[in-house]
């Protein structure tokens, strides 16, 4: 008849980009006569902020203010291929294509500026919308003037294209899973400690606090990274303790059909979330970035499950960890089966108990 507190920990990893790669993204950029930059990419922004991230990457790479960027991802007539916004690839893969296109544009701007200034483009750099001679800042020309010169003096359209594609990693030995190339663009890492309160009379699990650490390679936009982490934490909480399409899985009965009967997390479920970011740059991502979008909801469920054990001494390894499951586990007080050096948890759930066509285990 008490509320018990417990803590649990989980450390995870997650790949960036489609598994086995082979997922292209492309971008193309044109420069308007006054130096403003138009970016065309096919990446859908599903709320993750890819329009913003790619604009930042382009602005940084060319060397112009962020406000000069117009970003158009609106349709397949003007935008080139992007495989899609999934697999945590929008920043790494699509952002890399944007970076490459921007680098092309930067080179062309320097070329034309070089002609105007009569300086070798290799001795020029672009800072804040101005092309400046390295070490001789009085020799400069604005990017708008370069664009005007391109349009009306040289008869050139300043564009740049970029495509990012990591070659497909083939499974060369299907019997072992061996691949010939890394099957990802990068790997991100995270750890999470969860603190829960479990009411041993009602079975209710309340997630009180989450400490999380994410290696994102590089925070292109720290606020957007926070947004992914916070949103992911709450979805992870939902996966861990609240949500289930099939409350009596594997039965399909009583499937919720509204927000009243399907328990998506609400504000009242919000724990205190403390987050640490580390930035170990990826080798090939734009500015060292790695993916974050999906990993953000992976560490909470196991950390919560371990915390529940710490609190009330029962393992619930079917998600979500509902009050009913906690109470049944407390009632059953199941101990794992011990036989010699083997300890077997959850025997009632195993194929060894339920199935007649497949087995698993140390003896299998």
């Amino acid at each position: 008849m008490a509320v018990k507190t417990g803590r649990g920990f989980a450390a995870i990893e997650y790949p960036t980009g489609m598994n086995q790669n082979g997922d292209p993204s492309q971008a193309w950029i044109k420069v308007k006569p006054d130096g403003r930059i138009d970016v065309f990419a096919g990446t859908s922004d599903i709320g993750n902020g890819s329009k913003t991230i790619q604009s930042q990457i382009v602005a940084e790479t060319i060397g112009v203010p962020y406000e000069w960027i117009t970003y158009d991802n609106s349709n397949t007539d003007s935008s080139p291929v992007c495989t899609g916004t999934f697999a945590s690839r929008a920043t790494f893969v699509a952002g890399k294509a944007a970076e490459k296109a921007a680098e092309n544009v930067r080179q062309k701007i320097l070329e034309i500026a070089g002609k105007e200034l009569e300086i070798d483009p290799a001795d020029l750099e672009i800072i804040d919308g101005e092309v400046i001679a390295k070490g001789a800042p009085q020799k400069k020309i604005s990017v708008p003037d370069v664009a005007a010169a391109a349009t009306w003096t040289y008869g050139e359209l300043i564009t740049g294209t970029g495509a990012q594609l990591k070659p497909f990693a083939t499974i060369v030995e299907p019997a072992t899973g061996k691949v010939d190339l890394p099957p990802h663009s990068a790997i991100s890492y995270a750890s999470c400690s969860a603190e829960v309160e479990v009411d041993d009379e009602t079975g209710v699990v309340t997630v009180k606090r989450l400490w999380q650490c994410y290696d994102v390679g590089k925070s292109i936009n720290p606020t957007l990274v926070e947004g992914q982490i916070e949103g992911g934490a709450v979805q992870g909480l939902g996966l861990g303790v609240l949500e289930n399409c099939y409350p009596y899985y594997p039965s399909v009965e009583h499937r919720g059909s509204s927000f009243g009967s399907y328990l998506a997390p609400g504000m009242e479920d919000l724990p205190q979330i403390d987050t640490i970011i580390i930035e170990n740059p990826s080798a090939d991502g734009p500015y060292g970035a790695k993916g974050i979008g999906e990993m953000a909801n992976n560490a909470q469920p196991p950390a919560i499950a371990s915390a529940v054990f710490d609190a009330v001494g029962v393992w619930v390894t079917e998600l979500p960890i509902t009050p009913e499951r906690v109470l049944r586990a407390l009632q059953a007080k199941a101990e794992p089966a011990r036989d010699g050096k083997t300890v077997v948890f959850d025997a009632a759930l195993s194929v060894n108990t339920v199935s007649t066509g497949i087995t698993f285990g140390a003896a299998a």
Binding site: A10, Y14, G42, S55, I57, C82, S251, I276, G361
Partner: protein
């Protein structure tokens, strides 16, 4: 750096807070017809006598069935070798409750609902299968054309298999074997914007598809394949999505609305109800995972056996891809040199499952991390130290034999230990992800080292 690393406001931030952001349903297309679906009321059945005539007789109503689809079955990931198995609209059988059979377009939402109500079919129900564990039983109902599990991994294998090192030796040498079962649930993406699209037939024969897809080109490819059209006959407009989380890649509405737009010559609009979204949209997959780890009393994970049953629902969709990704990450953040992994994509008579945030790895992280916590308790070892010891380091190799170049497991664990005030011995606090040596390189890990320079 000026732009990168800066907290610049969202590109579309002001538009979001002023109601200016245009989502698909915010676009007003004059004369657009409303679409609704006639869906299977049963889990598994033969279907006959599909009769849409009364609906088609209603004023302004157009109906499409399987017969109107130029290419009825198209595997969305056929480029990855996953063959087509799912008809766009059911033909002579239904395999899940809610499966679309006919789609109507009508001048109003009410008229569309009335048209759907006027469609009839006969269903000859068959035993259904819902429990992936029972799929392998000799007397299990066979619910998919090719049996109860997918059979087209490379070399036509019927499972995703990972093998590394010598698993029998690992289990022999272990001081302890820890075994457990992990079952995360199907959950909904539940974005606040439901599935929605509008398709406009243009005067020049093109179709403009206003879509909530997460993947403009991917969805365009799906529509083009079903309709047998070259890509320039389609224009997909979108890129601004009211939440997706992996549920808006399936291209659930676009192809059907495109067919109706072609057939009717009018714009067609289909916005799923929230009820439809909850009951008929594809979900995160439920997974059944069993792990047996061979461990030493000083906390080394010598080997792992694992069985995964991936509940794919009625059709394969992206499940073979998700299971493959899952298998590549079944060792989690740790270097486990001896492996025996078997995974199956198993069919059940529920809504086909699809990608959701973390596809394939969310499940494996839940299983392996909960399992690690149990191992720590059984061995009487600190749960952070158990993980730090086995954590991937530079030069360790993955399940599929790729060397890690820059793993960050160690620093993230240390950062959290510090943040929550979890005491570690000086030896553990000083750990880095650098290549293994000395006490961190026991004999059983020597053979699994690879060269990070290779990649």
């Amino acid at each position: 750096m000026k732009a990168v690393g800066a907290r610049v406001p969202r590109y579309d931030g002001v538009a979001h807070v002023t109601g200016h952001t245009m989502f698909v349903d915010d676009l007003k297309i004059p004369g657009a017809l409303w679409a609704k679906a006639f869906r299977s009321p049963v889990h598994n059945a033969g279907m006959s006598n599909l009769d849409t005539s009364k609906a088609e007789a209603m004023p302004g109503v157009h109906v499409i069935t399987w017969n109107d689809v130029p290419l009825l079955e198209y595997g969305h990931l056929s480029a990855l070798g996953i063959p087509a198995d799912e008809p766009l609209l059911a033909k002579d059988e239904v395999r899940y409750l809610g499966q679309p059979i006919a789609i109507v377009a009508a001048p109003s939402e009410e008229a569309a609902m009335a048209a759907v109500a006027a469609i009839t079919a006969d269903f000859d129900e068959r035993p259904a299968l819902f429990d992936v564990r029972k799929a392998f039983d000799a007397d299990a109902p066979q619910i998919h054309a090719e049996g109860n599990w997918y059979r087209h991994f490379e070399d036509e294998m019927d499972r995703r298999q990972i093998r590394k090192g010598n698993i029998d030796e690992a289990f022999d040498k272990a001081d302890l074997i820890v075994q457990g079962v992990y079952r995360p649930a199907a959950i909904e993406h539940a974005p606040i914007e439901t599935q929605v699209c509008q398709v406009v037939p243009e005067a020049n024969g093109r179709l403009t598809i206003y879509s909530c897809t997460q993947a403009l080109y991917f969805s365009m490819g799906v529509v083009a394949a079903h309709l047998q059209l070259p890509l320039n006959k389609l224009k997909v407009v979108g890129g601004t999505v009211g939440g997706g989380f992996g549920g808006k890649v399936d291209t659930a509405t676009e192809t059907l609305c495109a067919l109706l737009a072609q057939k009717s010559g009018k714009p067609v609009r289909w916005r799923w109800t929230r009820e439809e979204e909850f009951l008929c949209s594809s979900t995160r997959a439920p997974w059944h995972m069993e792990i047996a780890d061979a461990v030493t009393k000083d906390g080394w994970i010598l080997g792992r056996k694992m069985l995964t049953l991936h509940d794919s629902g009625a059709y394969a969709r992206f499940s073979p891809y998700g299971l493959t990704k899952h298998s590549f990450h079944h060792t989690g953040a740790y270097s486990i040199p001896n492996l025996e992994f078997d995974g199956y994509v198993v069919y059940t008579n529920r809504t086909p499952t699809t990608a959701m945030r973390g596809f394939g790895v969310t499940s494996v992280s839940f299983a392996t991390e909960t399992h690690m916590s149990r191992i720590a308790l059984e061995l009487g070892i600190d749960p952070y130290e158990l993980r730090l010891k086995n954590a991937n380091r530079v030069g360790d190799t993955s399940p599929n034999q790729i060397a890690y170049t820059d793993p960050s497991t160690v620093p993230t664990i240390l950062a959290i230990a510090d943040a929550v005030g979890h005491d570690l011995t000086p030896e553990y606090k000083a750990m880095t992800p650098g290549p293994r040596s000395g006490a961190l390189l026991p004999e059983h890990l020597v053979g699994q080292l690879g060269n990070p320079e290779d990649h």
